[in-house]
């Protein structure tokens, strides 16, 4: 089975609210995690990454949190906007350069 998964396949968020997208992984050897965003009809796009020696990393309106104790990864989007509507994938690297992707969470922003 897949070692990287997302807790919920869909998430509906009110515009302006914060979004939290969760991801669980099972491989303790994974040392690098990435979040990708995929808009309709396009390829995935890199959002933010985090190494296993970190607990938190912030970008522009996004924050990734890593909890190695429970093997949990989350992506927080502040002040969600209509342009944030997309499918979000977490991915893990197990020490080589081949990523393993989760199934994705579809985020819909309500006006």
């Amino acid at each position: 089975g897949e070692s990287v998964g997302l807790h919920l396949p869909t998430l509906s968020v009110q515009e302006g609210d914060n979004s939290i997208i969760n991801c669980a992984y099972s491989n303790s050897a994974s040392d690098y995690f990435i979040w990708y965003k995929q808009e309709s009809g396009k390829g995935p796009q890199f959002i933010i990454d985090i190494r296993s020696n970190m607990d938190k990393r912030q970008g522009q309106r996004v924050t990734v949190l890593l909890n190695k104790t429970v093997k949990h990864l989350s992506l927080q989007i502040a002040a969600t906007q209509p342009g944030d509507s997309a499918v979000y994938f977490c991915a893990e690297s197990r020490g080589d350069y081949k990523l393993s992707f989760g199934a994705g969470t579809t985020v819909t922003v309500r006006a």
């Binding site: 990435i34 990708y36 390829g43 994938f89 992707f101």
Partner: protein, 113 residues
């Protein structure tokens, strides 16, 4: 999409026919990848290349072959297409020192009837 062009963008073919998908990059990146995307499975690696004529299998390589005769081009071939190969295919590239940070093309929607 980061100087990556996939062709064709859409293709419908019949079971048993050969199909070749092309990925062309203008970034001069050494690493290139082919993924397929299916509902409920996320993206799965088919094959990858770490240089001209250097390729290796990914997790779902059965039924697929690849070739890389030039840095800029990475071809994916389905020797005899099956309905289970109906999918969206994405090419991706990455550079030395940041191999896991992939840049994806816009994808090819392939339907095998």
């Amino acid at each position: 999409d980061a100087g990556i062009t996939q062709s064709p963008r859409h293709k419908v073919t019949e079971t048993g026919t050969p199909v070749t998908l092309r990925c062309h990059q203008t970034e001069n990146h050494r690493y290139m990848y082919w993924y397929r995307q299916d509902p409920g499975h996320g993206l799965r690696l088919i094959h990858y290349s770490y240089g001209v004529k250097d390729t290796d299998k990914g997790e779902v390589s059965d039924g697929y072959s690849v070739s890389r005769s030039k840095t800029e081009d990475f071809l994916l071939t389905l020797e005899s297409a099956t309905s289970s190969q109906t999918s969206v295919y994405f090419c991706a590239i990455s550079e030395e020192g940041s191999l896991e940070k992939l840049f994806f093309g816009s994808g090819t929607q392939l339907s095998v009837l």
